[in-house]
């Protein structure tokens, strides 16, 4: 990622220096296209994993945590970093420990860029990142921290930024020991406020980057954090956060020091989880990925994720496309508005009738004929003996299908398939 980001930055600066306005626009367009391509590669990798990975929980949790620690690719040069962010900061910890995940995500250059902390320096305080760490990444809004805590947290965060330069900044001799550089993440002591801070009643003496790292550990162990994360997990999987279940999950979170599988185990073995089976309408990513898996996974390998991405985008949940740091909403109601359902049924029809573009290879023209048609879902499902789980209304409707493609479209539109 370091090499990529630096190269893109060089291209960006060179384009800006072109004298002739028309040629400059062309150079800037080339830069823009290259950045778009980097984002596209990350999307493709992520979606192909979603479709083919045998560990579906790992992929679902990767999406969940990316969304929890949301960044938007379009901001500044994050398109060059977003693939690394998902792959190195999120996925390895998705079923690991929350403390490690928190550190990896919140010290990643993509996140530091996205929440403007590279502009936070002593004397020029930018509170944005401090606020979102407390409000969105850890404790949750209204959970007991104050505006003063945010201001103090922002002081801790001063100097934690991103550098694309191979050289360290000019530092006074006494500052050099505190300088830290890890790939693109740079802690610049000259920009840091080394005074003492107090956050959540805890005194933090000036020390450098370790103030932030230690504070993340403190935040990861807060009961408010345990509750907030447990609530979100429950919402994600069952569209509800029953207080008693959240209590049990929070206790496991604290008892196992942020071990994510321990928390999920409580959730998955709960009565509430069993009762919620097939009750929560899928969000667009889950809907499209599950439909593509069901329809195409047994056939020849899908080589091109672009159509999958287009379906997801049409339904309003593009990967890396959420502008605001709160991530996409987890509640099913956010995705089952009238216009959204109609769009979902249209997408069901397209997935069900087969997209030749799924098998396109690079350089090949669009809509190449002689590609595999989608299998008839009717026989796939017969083999899996799905029929007894279907409502009689659904069975009646499916019986009226006039073609295998229509059968596919109707099945993918059924209430049974629409819900997780």
């Amino acid at each position: 990622m370091t090499k990529l980001a630096v190269e893109m930055d060089t291209q960006f600066k060179a384009a800006a220096k072109v004298q002739d306005p028309t040629k400059r626009q062309a150079a800037q367009l080339a830069y823009y296209r290259a950045m778009l391509d980097l984002r596209q590669q990350a999307v493709t990798r992520s979606l192909l994993r979603d479709i083919y990975s045998s560990n579906q929980l790992q992929e679902q949790m990767t999406w969940f945590w990316f969304n929890h620690f949301n960044v938007q690719a379009e901001k500044r040069d994050i398109r060059a970093m977003v693939g690394d962010y998902e792959d190195q900061a999120i996925r390895p910890h998705a079923l690991g420990n929350f403390k490690d995940l928190l550190r990896a995500a919140d010290l990643h250059p993509a996140m530091l860029r996205y929440l403007d902390n590279d502009q936070n320096a002593t004397g020029h305080i930018n509170e944005n990142y401090a606020r979102e760490i407390l409000e969105l990444h850890t404790m949750g809004v209204g959970s007991g921290y104050s505006q003063k805590d945010i201001e103090e947290m922002a002081r801790i965060l001063t100097g934690v930024g991103v550098s694309l330069s191979p050289d360290p900044p000019k530092l006074k001799p006494e500052e050099q020991a505190a300088y830290v550089r890890r790939d693109l993440m740079e802690f610049n002591p000259a920009r840091h406020d080394f005074g003492e801070k107090t956050v959540l009643g805890r005194k933090v003496p000036g020390a450098g980057l370790s103030e932030f790292e230690d504070m993340l550990d403190v935040l990861a162990r807060q009961p408010a954090t345990a509750r907030y994360i447990s609530r979100k997990l429950a919402l994600f999987f069952i569209d509800d956060a029953p207080p008693k279940l959240v209590d049990r999950m929070s206790k496991a979170f604290l008892a196992h020091d942020g071990d994510i599988p321990s928390v999920l185990e409580i959730l998955f073995h709960s009565r509430e989880f069993q009762a919620a089976s097939r009750m929560k309408a899928k969000d667009p990513v889950h809907y499209v990925v599950s439909a593509v898996r069901l329809t195409y996974a047994a056939g020849p390998p899908v080589t091109e994720a672009a159509p999958v991405q287009e379906w997801i985008e049409r339904l309003g949940q593009p990967l890396y496309g959420r502008e605001t740091p709160d991530g996409y909403p987890l509640a099913a109601s956010a995705w089952s508005a009238p216009g959204q359902l109609t769009a979902m049924f249209e997408v069901a029809r397209q997935i069900g009738s087969g997209s030749p573009n799924l098998y396109r290879t690079e350089g090949e023209s669009k809509n190449t004929p002689t590609r595999p048609t989608p299998p008839a879902l009717r026989s796939t499902l017969n083999e899996r003996q799905v029929s007894p789980a279907l409502a009689s209304k659904t069975k009646d409707v499916l019986a009226k299908a006039r073609s295998p493609a229509e059968w596919n479209a109707l099945f993918l539109s059924s209430p049974e398939f629409l819900h997780r």
Binding site: P21, G316, A337, P338, K393, L410, S413, S414
Partner: protein, 396 residues
């Protein structure tokens, strides 16, 4: 008593006595449409401070010439100080003459990030910049919840931030309405599967909006043929919006992109002039398609996240600034005015030396308009725009 006078008085001394009455009888025959120009439109090259020598000094290649009957490319005089881009001569200028449009210069938000993303978000959420924000609550959603009989719609491909928090607001990419891939029988079969299901109403509503939108397409070819030039996308969209808001919806949101003119933005002609021409044409088509009776009960607000730099940049374009010029249109407006507080545009009066200051807050402006349109009490209004500066513009 004219309805408007009634509402103005209801906000005055007798507000307490009248509030119960206005609550129980909200004006659901009123239509309200917000048009968001995304990208920060260069307001002062569209509604031009032609009185300002500084304007001409700072914009040597892109300024719009002062009003001059002998020059077809000159700006059109509005109130002696401000003038209109000449490309709006046949669309917006007639509305000015009919007093159906008011311009509000020095309008905008208190967000000073000059970031498209941040400032659009700020405005759509309509919450105060300093406090803790709820990203799940947009001002159009809160407005819809305060009006009984509200029938909101978003003319955008995705549900916009401003409608977050509202139940089942239909959204439709109005420029891209096409024939559905699902035929009638398939639509009926899908609805049959959802009979008795909790999503039954939403599924039905979804197909119904789709059908309404598609049905209006049938009349379009004939209407479009009246025009010598083929209609732009925005013009087509405006006609559809007018039809949907005439028949089925009373609270609308539309966004129009393409205003981020950093390079070669042009002057009386060129990039920006073409966008403005399409915008003006689209709005006049909207008025025409609604017809006088419906237009008399319609209010449109045109806004953008920020204005641009007062000085043109080295690329004959402009960069991100602060204050903008908002437009208010309506068939019953006391328009033909430049409204709101102003400062003389000379050295020393610019915001941070580079752009227009904001003297009219978008929340107080929209709050006042919608408060009067729908007879909302201060209490209800404060639920739509908490902590908004007090309104005093008398725009409607």
């Amino acid at each position: 008593m004219h309805r408007r006078d009634f509402l103005i008085s209801s906000l005055g001394a007798s507000a307490v006595a009248l509030s119960a009455k206005t609550w129980s009888a909200p004006a659901t025959d009123q239509r309200f449409l917000v048009v968001f120009l995304r990208g920060g439109y260069d307001a002062i090259n569209v509604v031009v401070p032609t009185y300002s020598d500084l304007y001409y000094g700072r914009r040597p290649t892109i300024a719009i010439p002062r009003p001059d009957p002998a020059n077809a490319n000159a700006a059109l005089a509005l109130d002696g100080q401000w003038s209109l881009h000449p490309v709006l001569k046949d669309s917006i200028y007639p509305l000015w003459q009919k007093k159906q449009i008011t311009f509000v210069p020095f309008a905008g938000s208190d967000d000073t990030t000059r970031s498209h993303f941040e400032t659009q978000e700020t405005i759509e959420l309509g919450q105060s910049v300093g406090g803790t924000r709820s990203y799940q609550s947009g001002f159009m959603a809160r407005l819809a919840s305060q009006i009984s009989g509200a029938s909101p719609i978003s003319f955008t491909g995705q549900p916009p931030t401003t409608f977050r928090g509202a139940d089942a607001v239909p959204n439709i990419a109005i420029g891209k309405v096409g024939k559905s891939g699902l035929d009638e029988q398939q639509a009926a079969l899908i609805q049959q599967m959802y009979e008795g299901h909790q999503l039954q109403a939403a599924v039905r509503e979804g197909f119904s909006v789709r059908d309404k939108a598609y049905a209006m397409l049938s009349g379009e070819t004939a209407a479009a043929n009246h025009n010598a030039a083929p209609p732009s996308n925005f013009e087509l969209a405006s006609r559809r919006i007018a039809r949907l808001m005439k028949a089925d919806y009373n609270l609308g949101f539309l966004d129009v992109g393409g205003w981020d003119t950093h390079v070669n933005q042009g002057s009386t002609g060129g990039l920006l002039a073409e966008r403005v021409r399409q915008l003006g044409r689209g709005l006049s088509v909207l008025v025409e398609e609604m017809g006088p009776d419906v237009w008399a009960k319609t209010t449109v607000v045109v806004l953008s996240e920020f204005g641009r730099t007062f000085k043109e940049n080295g690329d004959r374009g402009t960069d991100h600034g602060h204050g903008s010029v908002y437009w208010v249109l309506g068939g019953s407006l006391p328009g033909g005015r430049i409204a709101g507080e102003q400062v003389d545009l000379k050295v020393g009066n610019l915001n941070e030396g580079r752009d227009l200051p904001v003297l009219t807050d978008y929340r107080s402006m929209i709050g006042e308009i919608t408060g009067r349109l729908y007879g909302l009490s201060q209490d209800r209004l404060s639920k739509v725009f908490p902590l908004a500066p007090a309104p005093s513009l008398n725009l409607i």
